[in-house]
């Protein structure tokens, strides 16, 4: 495959900036596909060229496969980087790239399709001997759901087969609630994905979310880059991610990484991916959850501990290069933590707070990295997600990283829009967080009693 010379960046916000930086470092030109609302964004200023692909609503711009491919062809781009979200995990874009002889910087449409169907992915993992959460096949009718739920044992979790981002996902604590919650989850799944197929799993109350970064190339090489802990979540949206996972024994860590690598090798996965697991803290066991076939928001924590630039690796393997290192050459040093700074009002149920940023002073210094597309004078449009910046800190130890994170948050000054900065500040001072005593339900409990936490 010839070397990539010009990349169409089919995304916005901080990840568009991140991709442009990676391209620059590799001497590759960039063309940004921007909606009308993003014409004056930082990535639009940074890219060698910006094309206005449509109006603000993403359905007519960032989610339009035909427009994105036409923009790549018309601008002479030989590759497309989809970032995360939008079209990143739509097999249609990956397929359209193949059809039009454009390099898709991501996996094949087959890999996206298999791993995008949560049930198919679950079956694939189980077939490889990786433990999956006790649960069911597809539920084809409600009457069967109650039998399946009794088999698995309450509480159970209903999940959308086409799912992601927590949509269509509901916990059922008692048999009496099943029918109502089932209808609710199916409606939500239909509205979010146009697909109301559900399945059910055992609900693990004291769980941590631990995921393993993997990378595969077209030469059959696969490596893992160790794990990340993303247990601090609100409505299945991650807020704080760290590496290595706190409180995970070396034995369990090794098992998780090997399970992830096994799946990657078995399906001959190409490009960057993440294998997500649930760790049951009460039983000391782990289960395969799903595989994400994209670069993830939280990839910088892995970059900070391993020293490997994941976006550059994505581009290299997409153009046919071998992964630039062997498994033995990957080592993780120190501790890294990422916080997502969102334009939201935590005291108002985290409702988005779009608007004009009048002050933007991110922290600087040793061990501090800020990935962002914001600047003083930037208007956060109301059409997209509310991520303003990712604050990533690294330290030799977890305690050093936390202390640095506390200082960095205190020195992060934003005005004009409401942000989650002071909420995160109070969060990372909590003894539970510092002692590593959290699970995936922790944040919502803390936030709901937060009114009395000063």
């Amino acid at each position: 495959m010839p070397a990539i010379t010009r990349v169409l960046v089919a995304n916005r916000g901080e990840i568009a900036v991140r991709v442009i930086r990676a391209c620059r470092a590799l001497g590759i030109e960039t063309v940004l596909a921007a909606s009308e609302a993003d014409g004056d964004s930082l990535p639009a200023r940074m890219a060698d060229r910006t094309l206005c692909i449509g109006p603000a609503p993403s359905s007519s711009s960032y989610l339009s496969v035909g427009t994105i491919v036409e923009a790549a062809l018309g601008s002479g781009s030989d590759a497309i980087h989809p970032g995360y979200g939008f079209l990143a995990e739509k097999p249609e874009l990956s397929q359209a790239c193949i059809d039009n002889r454009i390099v898709f910087i991501g996996p094949s449409p087959q890999h996206i399709r298999t791993m995008g169907d949560k049930l198919a992915a679950r079956q694939a993992a189980a077939g490889l001997g990786v433990p999956v959460v006790p649960g069911s096949e597809l539920i084809d009718e409600l009457s069967k759901a109650s039998v399946m739920a009794e088999d698995v044992g309450y509480p159970i979790l209903l999940k959308a087969a086409a799912g992601g981002g927590g949509k269509g996902m509901k916990t059922v604590y008692r048999p009496d609630d099943l029918e109502a919650v089932y209808r609710e989850a199916a409606a939500e799944a239909r509205s979010a994905f146009g697909d109301d197929r559900l399945y059910l799993e055992s609900f693990i109350p004291n769980a941590r979310h631990v995921e393993v970064q993997v990378l595969g190339d077209s030469h059959g090489n696969s490596v893992h880059l160790f794990e990340r802990d993303c247990s601090v979540q609100r409505r299945y949206q991650k807020l704080i991610e760290e590496a290595p996972a706190p409180g995970l024994s070396g034995n369990l860590r090794e098992k998780l990484c090997q399970a992830a690598l096994g799946i990657t090798e078995a399906i001959r996965y190409e490009n960057a991916g993440t294998v997500e697991f649930i760790v049951d803290q009460d039983k000391g066991t782990f289960y395969f959850l799903e595989m994400n076939t994209r670069i993830q928001v939280e990839h910088p924590v892995t970059e900070m501990t391993t020293g490997i630039d994941l976006v550059q690796e994505q581009i290299r393997v997409a153009q046919g290069d071998a992964v630039g290192f062997s498994q033995g050459q990957v080592s993780a040093k120190g501790h890294a933590i990422e916080c997502r700074i969102n334009a939201e009002r935590p005291e108002d149920d985290f409702r988005p707070s779009p608007g004009r940023i009048t002050r933007w002073e991110p922290p600087e210094g040793l061990g501090i990295r800020v990935d962002s597309h914001c600047y003083a004078g930037y208007t956060v449009p109301p059409f997209y997600d509310s991520l303003l910046a990712k604050l990533i800190v690294a330290g030799n130890t977890r305690m050093e990283a936390i202390a640095r994170l506390q200082r960095a948050l205190a020195n992060f000054h934003v005005e004009g829009v409401d942000t989650t900065i002071s909420f995160l500040s109070s969060l990372v001072e909590r003894a539970d967080f510092i002692a590593g005593r959290v699970n995936t339900g922790w944040l919502e409990k803390v936030a709901s009693i937060g009114g009395n936490h000063r």
Partner: protein, 175 residues
């Protein structure tokens, strides 16, 4: 920093056994807030399955005592009870904007002190007046121009709004 993670955890455990509901301290660079009412049970080493279910029910919050020990000024963030609004459950992508047709001053009500033209949750149609925009004593009433439920009022009464600035977010799915 010389502080060892195990030391920190020991200190936290010791504090949790004391009589305080909440206290704050600083050890070296690290700030720690101990809040017994919001705290989980101690975390076992997960690989050594202790099979002790962690209670997920929390006792109702107690009023906070005054801070007992505060070694350094710490910014305090207030996180009141969550107050869901009409937007919380609606996918942002589905909302449509009512934008200002001109730069001017936004007024939510016909006159000061009167009820606003619209409020969150209200269903409007094309002809519903949603606000007034004033430019140099010239008052223009603004119509919704589309049908939907008001999901958010994006500007404050009396605020300067720009041309095409979003005034309201509307959930068009009202059927």
């Amino acid at each position: 920093m010389d502080l060892n993670e195990d030391d920190v955890i020991q200190i936290i455990r010791y504090l949790e056994e004391s009589d305080f509901n909440e206290l704050r301290l600083q050890i070296g660079d690290l700030r720690i807030a101990v809040n017994r009412s919001g705290s989980l049970a101690p975390l076992p080493e997960v690989d050594q399955a202790t099979a002790t279910p962690t209670p997920l029910a929390y006792s109702p919050p107690t009023p906070p005592p005054p801070p007992v020990e505060e070694l350094a000024p710490a910014p305090v963030s207030s996180v009141p009870e969550s107050q869901p609004d009409a937007v919380a459950d609606v996918d942002q992508g589905q909302l449509v904007s009512i934008t200002s047709p001109m730069l001017g001053t936004f007024y939510k009500a016909p006159k000061p002190g009167e009820p606003p033209f619209v409020e969150v949750g209200m269903v409007v149609d094309e002809d519903t007046t949603v606000c007034i925009i004033e430019v140099m004593k010239l008052f223009s009433t603004i119509k919704a121009e589309k049908r939907g439920r008001i999901a958010r009022v994006c500007v404050e009464d009396g605020q300067l709004v720009e041309y095409r600035q979003t005034l309201f977010l509307l959930d068009p799915d009202v059927d």
